[in-house]
Amino acid sequence: MVPVDDRLVEAAREDPQAFADLIRQHQDHLYNFLYRMTGNREDAEDLAQETFVRVFRALHRFRAGSPFKPWLYKIAVNLAINHYHARKPTAPLLDELPSGSTFTSPELMAELRETQRDLRRALLELPEQYRAILLLRHLNELSYEDIAGTLEVPVRTAKVRLHRARKMLQARMFGAQKASDHELRESERPAPSLS
């Protein structure tokens, strides 16, 4: 059976309706990726549109039978990185409810919200190549092969880069937590006597 993407891409070369269907098929994943890359919904929307326009312009060069996703994300990653150089991302100010959360405990919900707020900030602080690879793997659930195809590197290099990205994020997240724990302990200590 021919994969949906292959059929849509083939049809989209000649049929605007098929191209619109191709956009609908990928727009949510792409939009979320770009939102986490830029930290801004308007920018994510603009970049998603620009990605699809570029896909369309280059569709005649796309090799039939090759995977579509890495090709799509290659264009998106390049656009997001260029955008990053033009305008550094900012941490989103809007509060977000954790996805699919069914926590009844307000404390648990508050804790998860806080973790995710720290995570969003830490993600935006990462160098863009590392942010991209983390999101491709853990947000968009691309396989190592597809990530390698997106970044145009061997699979082994993609794995090494992903491991490095995770370590960097871990250091930013939990390193910061250690620092704040330390600050808390310091603040709880009785103030030194001036006498």
């Binding site: 070369r13 000649e14 049929d15 605007p16 191209f19 619109a20 956009i23 609908r24 727009q27 949510d28 792409l30 939009y31 979320n32 939102y35 986490r36 919904r41 929307e45 998603a48 549109q49 699809f52 326009v53 369309f56 312009r57 569709l59 005649h60 977000e96 409810l97 954790p98 996805s99 699919g100 959360s101 998860l112 973790t115 995710q116 995570l119 969003r120 993600l123 983390l134 999101l135 853990h138 947000l139 992903l162 491991h163 995770r166 994020l169 871990q170 997240m173 939990f174």
Partner: protein
């Protein structure tokens, strides 16, 4: 296995890409090493946190804006152009043929139409008259009308749909 080696393998362990022997070795080490166990739990939580980040639907206008941006780049392919000409040519021929047939055979039907009677007291009189008109029509008139309707329908279909377009690559 020492801590350095175990920490190197923790990510591969979480990814599920370790061989069974490597997996067992990591599990054995982590079971007896609180430091590495803590690192593993921390890493696992981190990845789960990314995976559970809120997801949003892309605004529907992304499709509309993209399609508007690329619309000028679609143009008919040579094949679709030929199909279009064939349909248009066929439609025109059908219209002309239908008109000629209708005009030449409409005489009798016209006379019958002129004899239509409207009687408010007898609503069945109009139906009777219409049946009389239908009966007086010749087969050629009906065929002509059918041709005209078909041609009109084909033209509408051609206008509404945009079969076969291709991208401008320049």
């Amino acid at each position: 296995m020492n801590c350095g080696k175990a920490k190197d393998l923790l990510q591969a362990y979480l990814d599920g890409t370790l061989e069974p022997t490597g997996r067992l070795a990591v599990e054995g080490h982590v079971a007896g090493c609180p430091g590495c166990r803590g690192e593993l739990v921390q890493l696992e939580r981190l990845l789960l946190a990314i995976e559970s980040l809120p997801r949003f639907s892309a605004p529907e206008r992304v499709v509309a804006r993209t399609m508007a941006a690329i619309a000028p780049r679609f143009r008919p392919t040579p094949r679709s152009r030929l199909v279009g000409w064939a349909i248009n040519g066929g439609g025109l021929m059908a219209v002309l043929t239908g008109l000629i047939v209708v005009l030449t055979s409409a005489g009798e039907a016209g006379e019958a139409l002129a004899g239509l009677t409207l009687d408010q007291d007898n609503p069945f009189a109009l139906i009777d008259s219409l049946l009389a008109v239908a009966a007086s029509m010749e087969l050629t008139f009906v065929a002509g009308m059918a041709l005209l309707l078909s041609a009109g329908y084909l033209t509408l279909v051609q206008l509404v749909t945009t079969p076969g377009t291709e991208m401008r690559t320049s």
